[in-house]
């Protein structure tokens, strides 16, 4: 049994690194990241905290309540929250991408062939 470095075979066309999908996704990502960066910079310059509205309203609710303290089920310390988000989003991206390609990756043609 042998393995091949290029499963597409020597005669086939190699996949393009910057295909249309990658370009659109990268552009969308950069636009969104720039928007987040600009928003955060504006808030920082104007000394706005950028707190989550969930937390703001939870604090408001606790202040309204006669007794008790609100708390999340678990509070991750330091950068571990970033790690948790990164791991979850990485695998979430894989699952969404896998199923998206499975369902929408190709258009069925009238003759039964699939278009990439």
């Amino acid at each position: 049994m042998s393995t091949r470095a290029n499963p597409l075979g020597s005669g086939s066309q190699s996949p393009r690194f910057f295909d249309g999908f990658t370009k659109i996704m990268l552009t969308t990502m950069i636009v969104l990241e720039l928007a987040i960066f600009a928003s955060a910079s504006y808030m920082s310059r104007h000394k706005l905290t950028g707190a989550g509205t969930d937390d703001i309203v939870n604090n408001l609710a606790t202040a309204t309540k006669v007794n008790g303290e609100h708390h999340p089920f678990v509070q991750l310390p330091g950068d571990s929250e970033l790690s948790a988000f990164s791991v979850a989003n990485f695998f979430a991206g894989l699952i969404v991408g896998y199923n998206w390609v499975k369902l929408f990756g190709s258009k069925p043609q009238p003759d039964g062939k699939k278009e990439d």
Binding site: T64, F73, V74, L76, F85, F104
Partner: protein, 230 residues
């Protein structure tokens, strides 16, 4: 809308759990039924569940208000997999967010699912259905569904808080106080969610309208795939 532990009373938590169960149990049957009749439903469900998980954890800064909030994605989910199935996936999503991220709480999963997964999803789905029934284009119906679903989620969360905590203050007044904590930040995000919902649904319709028969067919007798008209 992620209400944390320690805010709602035990009675309120139990009540919202019961209300949520009234939608989640039919949702489980809906999933079992649709898996049997549509082979694409399982990957749809997996993709949608994970998308809701990511979207509802994605805090975006809104510079006008100086605070951050997140979209929900449940209107899109309700259109694709159905409103009752959306209740099921929202319960799972909120459980994982509470356990791993500190978003929300365990005692409040019922209340949080009711606002995001049930009211947000159902309202978006109803607007989608209503607009499609009057031949509204896919992008517009999906956009309105996303916008409405987002805002109804936060209206419901504010109502849940007000119902438990209003005390001597009139319920409506307390409701609006809590909602105004969300609304200024949520309004721009609801517009963003409208654009996102419309874009994703249009992409799906353009790529594979044959995979979305229950989403696109207006009149079962005519078997019209409206996506081609949009």
């Amino acid at each position: 809308m992620h209400i944390e532990d320690g805010i709602l009373s035990a009675e309120a938590c139990a009540g919202w759990y019961a209300a949520t169960a009234a939608f989640v149990i039919p949702g489980i049957y809906e999933i079992k039924h649709r898996i049997r009749e549509n082979l694409s439903y399982k990957p749809f469900l997996a993709m949608t569940g994970v998308a809701v998980f990511v979207i509802s954890a994605m805090h975006l800064p809104v510079p006008v208000t100086g605070s951050c909030s997140h979209p929900c994605g449940t209107a899109l989910a309700a259109i694709i997999v159905g409103p009752f199935a959306t209740a099921v996936i929202s319960t799972i999503v909120l459980f994982f967010q509470a356990v791993f991220f500190g978003h929300g709480g365990i005692t409040t999963i019922g209340a949080n699912t009711f606002s995001m997964g049930i009211c947000g999803g159902l309202s978006g789905w109803l607007f989608w259905k209503a607009l499609r029934s009057v031949s509204c284009p896919v992008w517009l119906a999906a956009g309105v569904a996303g916008f409405v679903g987002d805002l109804v989620t936060y209206l419901t969360a504010a109502f849940e808080l007000a119902l438990s905590l209003h005390g001597q203050v009139p319920l409506m007044k307390q409701w609006m106080i809590f909602f105004m904590g969300y609304a200024p930040t949520q309004l721009p995000l609801a517009i963003g969610e409208a654009i996102f919902t419309a874009a994703v649904l249009l992409a799906m319709v353009n790529r594979r309208p044959d995979l979305l028969p229950q989403v696109l067919v207006r009149k079962p007798a005519s078997q019209v795939l409206v996506g081609k008209e949009a």
